[in-house]
Protein backbone atom coordinates (compact mmCIF):
# COMPACT_ATOMS: atom_id res chain seq x y z
CA UNK A 1 0.00 0.00 0.00
CA UNK A 2 1.00 3.63 -0.42
CA UNK A 3 2.79 5.60 2.23
CA UNK A 4 0.71 7.82 4.49
CA UNK A 5 1.81 10.66 6.74
CA UNK A 6 0.98 9.80 10.32
CA UNK A 7 1.76 10.87 13.85
CA UNK A 8 3.77 8.20 15.68
CA UNK A 9 1.18 7.51 18.35
CA UNK A 10 -1.59 7.07 15.79
CA UNK A 11 0.61 4.90 13.59
CA UNK A 12 1.34 2.65 16.58
CA UNK A 13 -2.39 2.18 17.15
CA UNK A 14 -3.01 1.45 13.49
CA UNK A 15 -0.06 -0.96 13.38
CA UNK A 16 -1.58 -3.07 16.15
CA UNK A 17 -4.85 -3.38 14.23
CA UNK A 18 -3.00 -4.23 11.01
CA UNK A 19 -1.05 -6.86 12.94
CA UNK A 20 -4.33 -8.50 13.92
CA UNK A 21 -4.66 -7.20 17.50
CA UNK A 22 -8.20 -6.00 18.08
CA UNK A 23 -8.10 -5.63 21.86
CA UNK A 24 -6.79 -2.49 23.57
CA UNK A 25 -7.00 -1.42 27.20
CA UNK A 26 -5.33 1.81 28.30
CA UNK A 27 -5.14 4.75 30.67
CA UNK A 28 -4.37 8.27 29.40
CA UNK A 29 -0.91 9.74 29.97
CA UNK A 30 1.15 12.32 28.07
CA UNK A 31 2.89 11.97 25.62
CA UNK A 32 1.00 8.96 24.21
CA UNK A 33 -2.71 9.67 24.84
CA UNK A 34 -3.29 9.97 21.09
CA UNK A 35 -3.04 6.20 20.79
CA UNK A 36 -6.22 5.81 22.86
CA UNK A 37 -7.91 8.75 21.13
CA UNK A 38 -7.16 7.13 17.78
CA UNK A 39 -8.12 3.60 18.74
CA UNK A 40 -11.43 4.44 20.40
CA UNK A 41 -12.71 5.26 16.91
CA UNK A 42 -10.80 2.61 14.97
CA UNK A 43 -11.77 -0.27 17.25
CA UNK A 44 -15.40 0.63 16.67
CA UNK A 45 -14.85 0.49 12.92
CA UNK A 46 -13.12 -2.90 13.02
CA UNK A 47 -15.33 -4.42 15.72
CA UNK A 48 -12.54 -4.58 18.29
CA UNK A 49 -12.41 -3.97 22.02
CA UNK A 50 -11.48 -0.58 23.46
CA UNK A 51 -11.62 0.15 27.16
CA UNK A 52 -10.23 3.02 29.20
CA UNK A 53 -9.31 1.50 32.56
CA UNK A 54 -9.42 3.29 35.91
CA UNK A 55 -5.63 3.12 36.40
CA UNK A 56 -2.53 1.68 34.82
CA UNK A 57 -2.51 -0.95 37.55
CA UNK A 58 -5.98 -2.11 36.54
CA UNK A 59 -5.09 -1.94 32.84
CA UNK A 60 -2.15 -4.30 33.32
CA UNK A 61 -4.54 -6.87 34.79
CA UNK A 62 -7.15 -6.34 32.07
CA UNK A 63 -4.32 -7.21 29.69
CA UNK A 64 -3.44 -10.24 31.84
CA UNK A 65 -7.04 -11.48 31.97
CA UNK A 66 -7.63 -10.98 28.25
CA UNK A 67 -4.33 -12.59 27.28
CA UNK A 68 -4.90 -15.55 29.58
CA UNK A 69 -8.31 -16.00 27.97
CA UNK A 70 -6.52 -16.41 24.64
CA UNK A 71 -6.89 -12.96 23.09
CA UNK A 72 -4.23 -10.93 21.30
CA UNK A 73 -4.04 -7.76 23.37
CA UNK A 74 -1.91 -4.66 23.92
CA UNK A 75 -1.62 -1.38 25.76
CA UNK A 76 0.36 1.82 25.52
CA UNK A 77 1.57 4.13 28.25
CA UNK A 78 4.43 6.38 29.29
CA UNK A 79 7.04 6.10 32.02
CA UNK A 80 5.06 6.74 35.28
CA UNK A 81 2.24 4.62 33.89
CA UNK A 82 4.61 1.80 33.01
CA UNK A 83 5.87 1.82 36.60
CA UNK A 84 2.31 1.17 37.74
CA UNK A 85 1.84 -1.54 35.13
CA UNK A 86 5.05 -3.25 36.13
CA UNK A 87 3.19 -5.10 38.89
CA UNK A 88 0.89 -6.77 36.40
CA UNK A 89 3.72 -7.32 33.91
CA UNK A 90 5.53 -9.41 36.53
CA UNK A 91 2.44 -11.62 36.95
CA UNK A 92 2.02 -11.91 33.18
CA UNK A 93 5.64 -12.98 32.76
CA UNK A 94 5.40 -15.40 35.69
CA UNK A 95 2.23 -16.96 34.28
CA UNK A 96 3.78 -17.04 30.78
CA UNK A 97 1.17 -15.05 28.88
CA UNK A 98 1.87 -13.05 25.71
CA UNK A 99 1.15 -9.32 25.64
CA UNK A 100 2.56 -6.17 24.03
CA UNK A 101 3.35 -3.04 26.05
CA UNK A 102 4.37 0.20 24.36
CA UNK A 103 6.28 2.72 26.48
CA UNK A 104 6.56 6.18 24.94
CA UNK A 105 9.13 7.41 27.43
CA UNK A 106 9.11 10.79 29.17
CA UNK A 107 11.61 12.17 31.64
CA UNK A 108 11.78 11.08 35.25
CA UNK A 109 12.18 10.17 38.05
CA UNK A 110 8.80 10.83 39.64
CA UNK A 111 6.57 12.94 37.45
CA UNK A 112 9.72 14.19 35.72
CA UNK A 113 8.50 15.94 32.59
CA UNK A 114 6.46 15.24 29.50
CA UNK A 115 9.22 15.68 26.93
CA UNK A 116 11.17 12.89 25.21
CA UNK A 117 13.56 10.78 27.25
CA UNK A 118 15.18 7.36 27.34
CA UNK A 119 15.28 7.18 31.11
CA UNK A 120 13.48 3.83 31.39
CA UNK A 121 16.24 1.77 29.78
CA UNK A 122 17.22 -0.10 32.92
CA UNK A 123 13.60 -0.55 33.97
CA UNK A 124 12.68 -2.06 30.60
CA UNK A 125 15.74 -4.26 30.18
CA UNK A 126 16.46 -5.33 33.75
CA UNK A 127 14.06 -4.06 36.39
CA UNK A 128 10.45 -4.31 35.21
CA UNK A 129 8.63 -5.41 38.37
CA UNK A 130 9.66 -7.95 40.99
CA UNK A 131 11.01 -11.40 40.31
CA UNK A 132 13.27 -13.14 37.86
CA UNK A 133 12.04 -12.26 34.39
CA UNK A 134 12.83 -10.26 31.28
CA UNK A 135 10.91 -8.50 28.59
CA UNK A 136 11.86 -8.67 24.94
CA UNK A 137 12.52 -4.96 24.33
CA UNK A 138 12.53 -3.35 20.89
CA UNK A 139 13.51 0.29 20.35
CA UNK A 140 12.30 2.07 17.21
CA UNK A 141 14.19 5.01 15.72
CA UNK A 142 11.44 6.20 13.38
CA UNK A 143 7.67 6.10 13.05
CA UNK A 144 8.08 3.50 10.30
CA UNK A 145 10.21 1.33 12.52
CA UNK A 146 7.71 1.73 15.37
CA UNK A 147 5.01 0.42 13.04
CA UNK A 148 7.13 -2.53 11.95
CA UNK A 149 8.19 -3.41 15.48
CA UNK A 150 4.62 -3.23 16.83
CA UNK A 151 3.51 -5.60 14.07
CA UNK A 152 6.42 -7.97 14.80
CA UNK A 153 5.84 -7.80 18.55
CA UNK A 154 2.65 -9.89 18.61
CA UNK A 155 4.02 -13.08 17.04
CA UNK A 156 7.16 -12.69 19.17
CA UNK A 157 5.09 -12.36 22.35
CA UNK A 158 3.22 -15.52 21.36
CA UNK A 159 6.35 -17.40 20.32
CA UNK A 160 7.84 -16.89 23.78
CA UNK A 161 4.58 -16.55 25.78
CA UNK A 162 6.20 -13.49 27.31
CA UNK A 163 5.50 -9.75 27.35
CA UNK A 164 7.21 -7.71 24.64
CA UNK A 165 7.92 -4.02 25.13
CA UNK A 166 8.26 -1.38 22.44
CA UNK A 167 10.47 1.26 24.03
CA UNK A 168 10.11 4.54 22.18
CA UNK A 169 10.83 8.05 23.36
CA UNK A 170 8.35 10.91 23.29
CA UNK A 171 9.53 12.06 19.87
CA UNK A 172 8.64 8.72 18.28
CA UNK A 173 5.09 9.19 19.55
CA UNK A 174 4.73 12.86 18.74
CA UNK A 175 6.40 13.37 15.35
CA UNK A 176 4.79 12.79 11.97
CA UNK A 177 6.54 10.72 9.33
CA UNK A 178 5.49 8.81 6.23
CA UNK A 179 4.69 5.18 7.02
CA UNK A 180 3.67 2.04 5.25
CA UNK A 181 1.80 -0.88 6.81
CA UNK A 182 3.13 -4.08 5.34
CA UNK A 183 0.42 -6.68 4.83
CA UNK A 184 2.90 -9.52 5.17
CA UNK A 185 3.48 -8.53 8.80
CA UNK A 186 -0.10 -9.44 9.66
CA UNK A 187 -0.17 -12.71 11.55
CA UNK A 188 -2.81 -14.89 13.15
CA UNK A 189 -2.69 -15.55 16.85
CA UNK A 190 -1.13 -18.93 17.45
CA UNK A 191 -3.09 -21.82 18.93
CA UNK A 192 -3.49 -21.29 22.66
CA UNK A 193 -5.62 -24.29 23.50
CA UNK A 194 -2.80 -25.96 25.38
CA UNK A 195 -2.67 -23.33 28.10
CA UNK A 196 -5.25 -20.51 27.77
CA UNK A 197 -8.32 -20.29 29.99
CA UNK A 198 -10.56 -19.88 26.98
CA UNK A 199 -13.25 -22.29 28.21
CA UNK A 200 -13.21 -26.09 27.95
CA UNK A 201 -16.17 -26.14 25.53
CA UNK A 202 -14.44 -23.60 23.29
CA UNK A 203 -11.40 -25.83 22.80
CA UNK A 204 -13.39 -29.07 22.91
CA UNK A 205 -11.49 -30.41 25.89
CA UNK A 206 -12.39 -32.05 29.19
CA UNK A 207 -9.10 -30.87 30.63
CA UNK A 208 -9.22 -27.57 32.43
CA UNK A 209 -6.46 -24.96 32.00
CA UNK A 210 -4.94 -22.99 34.85
CA UNK A 211 -3.07 -19.68 34.49
CA UNK A 212 -1.06 -18.77 37.57
CA UNK A 213 2.26 -17.48 38.82
CA UNK A 214 2.03 -19.06 42.30
CA UNK A 215 4.35 -22.00 42.96
CA UNK A 216 4.53 -22.64 46.70
CA UNK A 217 6.73 -25.70 46.26
CA UNK A 218 10.34 -24.47 46.00
CA UNK A 219 11.23 -27.05 43.38
CA UNK A 220 8.23 -26.10 41.25
CA UNK A 221 9.07 -22.40 41.48
CA UNK A 222 12.69 -23.06 40.63
CA UNK A 223 11.51 -25.10 37.64
CA UNK A 224 9.24 -22.27 36.47
CA UNK A 225 12.14 -19.84 36.71
CA UNK A 226 14.37 -22.22 34.77
CA UNK A 227 11.68 -22.41 32.09
CA UNK A 228 11.63 -18.63 31.91
CA UNK A 229 15.43 -18.46 31.80
CA UNK A 230 15.50 -20.91 28.90
CA UNK A 231 13.21 -18.55 26.98
CA UNK A 232 15.48 -15.55 27.65
CA UNK A 233 18.50 -17.58 26.58
CA UNK A 234 16.66 -18.49 23.38
CA UNK A 235 15.87 -14.81 22.79
CA UNK A 236 19.60 -14.05 23.08
CA UNK A 237 20.26 -16.64 20.39
CA UNK A 238 17.44 -15.79 18.01
CA UNK A 239 16.16 -12.25 18.46
CA UNK A 240 19.14 -9.88 18.55
CA UNK A 241 18.53 -7.05 16.12
CA UNK A 242 20.80 -4.12 15.35
CA UNK A 243 21.97 -1.80 12.63
CA UNK A 244 25.43 -0.43 11.92
CA UNK A 245 26.36 2.93 10.41
CA UNK A 246 29.66 3.94 8.86
CA UNK A 247 31.38 0.87 10.28
CA UNK A 248 33.08 0.00 6.98
CA UNK A 249 35.50 2.89 7.64
CA UNK A 250 38.52 3.12 9.94
CA UNK A 251 36.49 4.88 12.61
CA UNK A 252 38.26 6.23 15.68
CA UNK A 253 35.27 6.15 18.00
CA UNK A 254 32.34 3.75 18.08
CA UNK A 255 29.03 5.28 19.11
CA UNK A 256 26.35 3.02 20.55
CA UNK A 257 22.99 4.76 20.51
CA UNK A 258 19.34 3.81 20.00
CA UNK A 259 15.98 5.38 19.17
CA UNK A 260 15.71 9.08 18.38
CA UNK A 261 19.17 9.69 19.85
CA UNK A 262 20.73 7.44 17.21
CA UNK A 263 19.32 9.64 14.45
CA UNK A 264 21.03 12.69 15.91
CA UNK A 265 24.24 10.66 16.12
CA UNK A 266 23.86 9.71 12.45
CA UNK A 267 23.78 13.41 11.50
CA UNK A 268 26.80 14.07 13.73
CA UNK A 269 28.67 11.19 12.05
CA UNK A 270 27.86 12.63 8.60
CA UNK A 271 29.06 16.08 9.70
CA UNK A 272 32.31 14.74 11.13
CA UNK A 273 32.92 12.76 7.96
CA UNK A 274 33.00 16.09 6.10
CA UNK A 275 35.71 17.22 8.53
CA UNK A 276 37.63 14.02 7.73
CA UNK A 277 36.82 12.29 11.04
CA UNK A 278 35.39 8.80 10.79
CA UNK A 279 33.01 7.67 13.54
CA UNK A 280 31.10 4.36 13.50
CA UNK A 281 27.85 3.43 15.18
CA UNK A 282 26.03 0.33 16.32
CA UNK A 283 22.33 0.98 16.86
CA UNK A 284 20.67 -1.72 18.97
CA UNK A 285 17.13 -2.38 17.74
CA UNK A 286 16.60 -4.88 20.52
CA UNK A 287 17.72 -3.67 23.95
CA UNK A 288 17.01 -7.06 25.45
CA UNK A 289 18.53 -9.12 24.02
CA UNK A 290 21.38 -6.59 23.66
CA UNK A 291 23.68 -6.99 20.63
CA UNK A 292 26.66 -7.80 22.85
CA UNK A 293 28.73 -9.68 20.27
CA UNK A 294 28.16 -7.07 17.58
CA UNK A 295 29.18 -4.22 19.87
CA UNK A 296 32.30 -6.14 20.92
CA UNK A 297 33.31 -6.88 17.32
CA UNK A 298 32.80 -3.25 16.33
CA UNK A 299 34.67 -1.94 19.38
CA UNK A 300 37.63 -4.24 18.77
CA UNK A 301 38.31 -2.82 15.33
CA UNK A 302 41.97 -1.74 15.27
CA UNK A 303 41.21 1.89 14.41
CA UNK A 304 38.68 2.22 17.22
CA UNK A 305 40.15 3.90 20.30
CA UNK A 306 37.07 4.20 22.45
CA UNK A 307 33.35 3.65 22.68
CA UNK A 308 30.69 6.24 23.46
CA UNK A 309 27.28 5.50 24.93
CA UNK A 310 25.10 8.34 23.76
CA UNK A 311 21.70 8.20 25.38
CA UNK A 312 18.89 10.43 26.61
CA UNK A 313 19.47 9.06 30.10
CA UNK A 314 22.15 9.47 32.73
CA UNK A 315 24.30 6.50 31.84
CA UNK A 316 22.00 3.49 31.71
CA UNK A 317 22.82 1.69 28.45
CA UNK A 318 26.51 2.22 29.18
CA UNK A 319 26.36 -0.76 31.55
CA UNK A 320 25.34 -3.13 28.75
CA UNK A 321 28.06 -1.65 26.52
CA UNK A 322 30.69 -2.15 29.22
CA UNK A 323 29.60 -5.77 29.62
CA UNK A 324 29.80 -6.21 25.84
CA UNK A 325 33.21 -4.55 25.43
CA UNK A 326 34.72 -6.54 28.33
CA UNK A 327 37.18 -3.80 29.23
CA UNK A 328 38.89 -3.96 25.84
CA UNK A 329 38.15 -0.30 25.09
CA UNK A 330 37.28 2.62 27.38
CA UNK A 331 33.55 3.35 27.34
CA UNK A 332 32.40 6.96 27.78
CA UNK A 333 29.01 8.45 28.33
CA UNK A 334 27.27 11.49 26.92
CA UNK A 335 23.64 12.35 27.33
CA UNK A 336 20.89 14.66 28.44
CA UNK A 337 17.74 13.75 30.21
CA UNK A 338 15.67 16.85 30.75
CA UNK A 339 13.54 16.56 27.68
CA UNK A 340 15.55 18.41 25.03
CA UNK A 341 17.29 16.09 22.62
CA UNK A 342 21.06 16.70 22.25
CA UNK A 343 21.93 18.38 18.95
CA UNK A 344 24.36 16.96 16.36
CA UNK A 345 26.73 19.80 17.31
CA UNK A 346 26.69 18.79 20.97
CA UNK A 347 27.37 15.17 20.04
CA UNK A 348 30.20 16.26 17.72
CA UNK A 349 31.72 18.44 20.44
CA UNK A 350 31.68 15.49 22.84
CA UNK A 351 33.19 13.08 20.32
CA UNK A 352 36.02 15.55 19.71
CA UNK A 353 36.98 15.26 23.37
CA UNK A 354 37.61 11.55 22.77
CA UNK A 355 39.84 11.94 19.69
Amino acid sequence: MAKVLMKGNEAIGEAAIRAGCLNYFAYPITPQSEVAEYLVRRMKEVGGVFLQGESEVAVSYMIFGASAAGARVFTTSSSPGISLMSEGISYIAGAQCPAVFVNIMRGGPGLGGILPSQADYLQATKGMGHGDFRLLVMAPASVQEAVTMVMQAFPLAEKYRNPVMILGDGLIGQMMEPVEFFDDLKTDATNKDTWATNGMDHRGSRQRNLVKSLFLDPEALNQNNLTLKAKYDQMKQEEVRFETYNTDTDYQVLIVSYGTMSRVCRTAIDNMKKEGVEIGMVRPQTLFPFPEKQVLVAAEKKSCKSVASIEMSMGQMIEDIQISVQGKRPVHWYGKCGGDVPTPEEVTEFIHTLL
Binding site: A58, Y61, I63, G65, M200, R208, V211, K212
Partner: protein
Protein backbone atom coordinates in the same frame (compact mmCIF):
# COMPACT_ATOMS: atom_id res chain seq x y z
CA UNK B 1 -32.76 -46.11 44.98
CA UNK B 2 -30.07 -43.87 43.48
CA UNK B 3 -27.65 -41.64 45.27
CA UNK B 4 -29.29 -38.76 47.06
CA UNK B 5 -26.19 -36.69 47.72
CA UNK B 6 -23.17 -36.45 45.46
CA UNK B 7 -20.19 -34.22 44.97
CA UNK B 8 -20.75 -31.61 42.25
CA UNK B 9 -18.89 -32.27 39.01
CA UNK B 10 -17.44 -28.76 39.26
CA UNK B 11 -15.68 -29.67 42.52
CA UNK B 12 -12.41 -31.62 42.51
CA UNK B 13 -11.23 -34.46 44.78
CA UNK B 14 -8.43 -32.36 46.24
CA UNK B 15 -8.01 -32.56 50.03
CA UNK B 16 -8.72 -29.14 51.54
CA UNK B 17 -6.01 -26.82 52.82
CA UNK B 18 -8.58 -24.70 54.65
CA UNK B 19 -8.63 -24.80 58.46
CA UNK B 20 -11.19 -26.87 60.37
CA UNK B 21 -14.47 -24.99 60.58
CA UNK B 22 -13.57 -22.61 57.74
CA UNK B 23 -16.58 -21.54 55.66
CA UNK B 24 -14.68 -21.35 52.34
CA UNK B 25 -15.50 -25.04 51.78
CA UNK B 26 -19.22 -24.35 52.08
CA UNK B 27 -19.02 -21.46 49.63
CA UNK B 28 -16.92 -23.46 47.15
CA UNK B 29 -19.56 -26.16 47.22
CA UNK B 30 -22.39 -23.68 46.66
CA UNK B 31 -20.58 -22.18 43.65
CA UNK B 32 -19.89 -25.66 42.26
CA UNK B 33 -23.51 -26.76 42.72
CA UNK B 34 -24.76 -23.64 40.92
CA UNK B 35 -22.33 -24.18 38.03
CA UNK B 36 -23.48 -27.80 37.72
CA UNK B 37 -27.15 -26.87 37.87
CA UNK B 38 -26.73 -24.20 35.19
CA UNK B 39 -24.62 -26.54 33.05
CA UNK B 40 -21.92 -23.91 32.46
CA UNK B 41 -18.76 -25.70 33.64
CA UNK B 42 -17.37 -25.87 30.11
CA UNK B 43 -17.53 -22.12 29.62
CA UNK B 44 -16.73 -20.83 33.09
CA UNK B 45 -13.52 -19.10 34.14
CA UNK B 46 -12.95 -18.44 37.83
CA UNK B 47 -10.45 -15.96 39.23
CA UNK B 48 -8.71 -16.69 42.51
CA UNK B 49 -7.66 -13.82 44.78
CA UNK B 50 -4.70 -13.40 47.08
CA UNK B 51 -5.51 -14.69 50.52
CA UNK B 52 -6.66 -18.09 51.80
CA UNK B 53 -8.63 -18.64 48.60
CA UNK B 54 -5.55 -18.12 46.42
CA UNK B 55 -5.62 -21.90 46.09
CA UNK B 56 -9.34 -22.01 45.24
CA UNK B 57 -8.39 -23.25 41.78
CA UNK B 58 -7.34 -26.55 43.32
CA UNK B 59 -10.93 -27.32 44.27
CA UNK B 60 -12.71 -26.58 40.99
CA UNK B 61 -12.66 -28.52 37.74
CA UNK B 62 -12.97 -25.71 35.21
CA UNK B 63 -10.63 -23.02 33.84
CA UNK B 64 -9.11 -20.76 36.44
CA UNK B 65 -6.82 -17.75 36.58
CA UNK B 66 -4.98 -16.61 39.65
CA UNK B 67 -4.88 -12.86 40.23
CA UNK B 68 -2.69 -10.49 42.19
CA UNK B 69 -4.02 -8.98 45.43
CA UNK B 70 -7.27 -7.16 44.72
CA UNK B 71 -6.90 -7.15 40.93
CA UNK B 72 -9.36 -9.94 40.16
CA UNK B 73 -12.10 -7.55 38.95
CA UNK B 74 -9.66 -6.02 36.42
CA UNK B 75 -8.74 -9.50 35.18
CA UNK B 76 -12.40 -10.45 34.96
CA UNK B 77 -12.99 -7.26 32.98
CA UNK B 78 -10.27 -8.26 30.54
CA UNK B 79 -11.68 -11.75 30.05
CA UNK B 80 -15.29 -10.67 29.75
CA UNK B 81 -14.54 -7.86 27.29
CA UNK B 82 -12.70 -10.15 24.87
CA UNK B 83 -14.89 -13.23 25.49
CA UNK B 84 -18.40 -12.12 26.50
CA UNK B 85 -19.62 -15.70 26.00
CA UNK B 86 -17.55 -16.99 28.92
CA UNK B 87 -19.06 -17.10 32.41
CA UNK B 88 -16.63 -15.30 34.68
CA UNK B 89 -16.55 -14.92 38.44
CA UNK B 90 -14.09 -13.51 40.95
CA UNK B 91 -13.77 -15.09 44.36
CA UNK B 92 -12.37 -12.54 46.80
CA UNK B 93 -11.90 -12.04 50.51
CA UNK B 94 -12.22 -8.82 52.49
CA UNK B 95 -8.53 -7.90 52.61
CA UNK B 96 -8.30 -8.52 48.89
CA UNK B 97 -11.49 -6.78 47.77
CA UNK B 98 -12.18 -4.14 50.41
CA UNK B 99 -8.62 -2.98 51.01
CA UNK B 100 -6.04 -3.32 48.26
CA UNK B 101 -8.61 -4.01 45.54
CA UNK B 102 -11.17 -1.33 46.38
CA UNK B 103 -10.37 0.65 43.25
CA UNK B 104 -10.74 -2.32 40.94
CA UNK B 105 -14.05 -3.54 42.39
CA UNK B 106 -15.66 -0.08 42.45
CA UNK B 107 -14.79 0.67 38.85
CA UNK B 108 -15.63 -2.77 37.48
CA UNK B 109 -18.99 -2.58 39.26
CA UNK B 110 -19.58 0.96 38.09
CA UNK B 111 -18.87 0.06 34.46
CA UNK B 112 -21.40 -2.71 34.84
CA UNK B 113 -18.94 -5.40 33.81
CA UNK B 114 -21.02 -8.49 33.28
CA UNK B 115 -19.27 -10.86 35.67
CA UNK B 116 -20.06 -12.09 39.18
CA UNK B 117 -18.12 -11.41 42.37
CA UNK B 118 -18.30 -13.76 45.32
CA UNK B 119 -17.14 -11.61 48.23
CA UNK B 120 -16.24 -13.54 51.37
CA UNK B 121 -16.34 -11.24 54.40
CA UNK B 122 -14.89 -12.76 57.56
CA UNK B 123 -13.64 -9.50 59.04
CA UNK B 124 -9.96 -10.44 59.01
CA UNK B 125 -6.93 -11.24 56.84
CA UNK B 126 -6.61 -15.02 56.89
CA UNK B 127 -3.64 -16.14 54.80
CA UNK B 128 -1.22 -13.52 56.12
CA UNK B 129 -2.02 -14.52 59.67
CA UNK B 130 -4.96 -12.66 61.16
CA UNK B 131 -4.34 -8.96 60.55
CA UNK B 132 -7.01 -6.26 60.74
CA UNK B 133 -9.16 -5.88 57.61
CA UNK B 134 -11.26 -2.88 56.52
CA UNK B 135 -14.23 -5.03 57.56
CA UNK B 136 -12.93 -5.94 61.04
CA UNK B 137 -15.45 -5.07 63.73
CA UNK B 138 -15.01 -2.24 66.28
CA UNK B 139 -12.85 -3.49 69.17
CA UNK B 140 -12.06 -6.73 67.28
CA UNK B 141 -8.65 -8.03 68.28
CA UNK B 142 -6.34 -8.97 65.44
CA UNK B 143 -2.56 -9.23 65.19
CA UNK B 144 -2.39 -5.62 63.98
CA UNK B 145 -5.13 -4.39 66.35
CA UNK B 146 -4.06 -6.29 69.47
CA UNK B 147 -5.95 -3.83 71.71
CA UNK B 148 -9.08 -4.06 69.58
CA UNK B 149 -9.97 -2.08 66.44
CA UNK B 150 -9.91 1.55 67.49
CA UNK B 151 -12.45 3.24 65.24
CA UNK B 152 -11.19 6.70 66.28
CA UNK B 153 -7.85 5.70 64.79
CA UNK B 154 -8.79 3.63 61.72
CA UNK B 155 -12.47 4.33 61.12
CA UNK B 156 -15.52 2.11 61.10
CA UNK B 157 -15.68 -1.14 59.11
CA UNK B 158 -16.60 -0.72 55.46
CA UNK B 159 -20.01 -2.00 54.41
CA UNK B 160 -19.13 -3.18 50.94
CA UNK B 161 -22.58 -4.28 49.71
CA UNK B 162 -24.06 -0.91 50.70
CA UNK B 163 -21.13 0.93 49.11
CA UNK B 164 -21.43 -0.84 45.76
CA UNK B 165 -25.22 -0.60 45.85
CA UNK B 166 -24.88 3.18 46.14
CA UNK B 167 -23.51 3.25 42.59
CA UNK B 168 -26.11 3.65 39.87
CA UNK B 169 -24.91 1.01 37.44
CA UNK B 170 -24.45 -2.27 39.36
CA UNK B 171 -27.76 -4.07 39.44
CA UNK B 172 -27.61 -7.19 41.63
CA UNK B 173 -25.98 -6.61 45.01
CA UNK B 174 -26.79 -9.01 47.82
CA UNK B 175 -25.45 -9.86 51.25
CA UNK B 176 -26.07 -13.30 52.69
CA UNK B 177 -24.26 -15.48 55.22
CA UNK B 178 -22.98 -19.04 55.49
CA UNK B 179 -23.40 -19.41 59.25
CA UNK B 180 -26.56 -21.53 59.68
CA UNK B 181 -28.39 -23.84 57.23
CA UNK B 182 -31.10 -21.21 56.74
CA UNK B 183 -28.40 -18.74 55.66
CA UNK B 184 -26.73 -21.24 53.37
CA UNK B 185 -29.98 -21.92 51.50
CA UNK B 186 -30.39 -18.20 50.84
CA UNK B 187 -26.72 -17.81 49.95
CA UNK B 188 -27.01 -20.46 47.26
CA UNK B 189 -30.13 -18.86 45.88
CA UNK B 190 -28.31 -15.53 45.62
CA UNK B 191 -25.26 -17.07 43.93
CA UNK B 192 -27.50 -18.82 41.42
CA UNK B 193 -29.43 -15.64 40.73
CA UNK B 194 -26.17 -13.74 40.19
CA UNK B 195 -24.93 -16.31 37.67
CA UNK B 196 -28.31 -16.31 35.93
CA UNK B 197 -28.19 -12.54 35.48
CA UNK B 198 -24.70 -12.94 34.04
CA UNK B 199 -25.93 -15.66 31.65
CA UNK B 200 -28.58 -13.26 30.46
CA UNK B 201 -25.85 -10.63 29.94
CA UNK B 202 -27.70 -8.30 32.22
CA UNK B 203 -25.42 -6.78 34.83
CA UNK B 204 -22.58 -6.82 37.29
CA UNK B 205 -23.53 -8.95 40.26
CA UNK B 206 -21.97 -9.33 43.69
CA UNK B 207 -22.86 -11.67 46.52
CA UNK B 208 -21.25 -10.73 49.84
CA UNK B 209 -21.16 -13.63 52.27
CA UNK B 210 -20.70 -13.11 56.01
CA UNK B 211 -18.28 -15.87 57.01
CA UNK B 212 -16.06 -16.96 59.85
CA UNK B 213 -12.36 -17.46 60.50
CA UNK B 214 -12.17 -19.63 63.63
CA UNK B 215 -8.37 -19.91 63.50
CA UNK B 216 -7.57 -16.22 63.36
CA UNK B 217 -10.49 -15.21 65.55
CA UNK B 218 -9.15 -17.64 68.18
CA UNK B 219 -12.51 -19.36 68.55
CA UNK B 220 -13.89 -22.84 68.02
CA UNK B 221 -15.90 -23.22 64.80
CA UNK B 222 -19.14 -23.25 66.81
CA UNK B 223 -18.18 -20.19 68.86
CA UNK B 224 -17.05 -18.45 65.68
CA UNK B 225 -20.52 -18.84 64.17
CA UNK B 226 -22.06 -17.42 67.34
CA UNK B 227 -19.58 -14.50 67.31
CA UNK B 228 -20.47 -13.71 63.70
CA UNK B 229 -24.19 -13.84 64.46
CA UNK B 230 -23.82 -11.62 67.53
CA UNK B 231 -21.32 -9.14 66.16
CA UNK B 232 -21.34 -9.14 62.36
CA UNK B 233 -24.97 -9.68 61.40
CA UNK B 234 -26.25 -6.59 63.28
CA UNK B 235 -23.66 -4.43 61.48
CA UNK B 236 -23.82 -6.24 58.14
CA UNK B 237 -27.58 -6.76 57.57
CA UNK B 238 -28.47 -9.57 55.18
CA UNK B 239 -30.68 -9.10 52.16
CA UNK B 240 -30.89 -7.79 48.61
CA UNK B 241 -29.45 -4.30 48.34
CA UNK B 242 -30.17 -3.92 44.67
CA UNK B 243 -31.93 -6.00 42.04
CA UNK B 244 -32.37 -5.36 38.33
CA UNK B 245 -36.13 -5.60 38.77
CA UNK B 246 -36.17 -2.83 41.37
CA UNK B 247 -33.86 -0.67 39.22
Amino acid sequence: MGKTFTKPEALSDQITHYCPGCTHGVIHRLVAEVIDELGIRGRTVGIAPVGCAVLAYNYFTFDFQEAAHGRAPAMATGIKRVRPDLMVFTYQGDGDLASIGMGEIIHAANRGEKFTTIFVNNAIYGMTGGQMAPTSMPNQRTTTSPFGRDVDDVGMPIKVAELIAALQTPAYIVRQAVLKPKHIVKAKKAIKQAFQYQMEGRCFSMVELVSTCPTNWGLTPVDAIKWAEDNMLPYYPLGEYKTPEAA
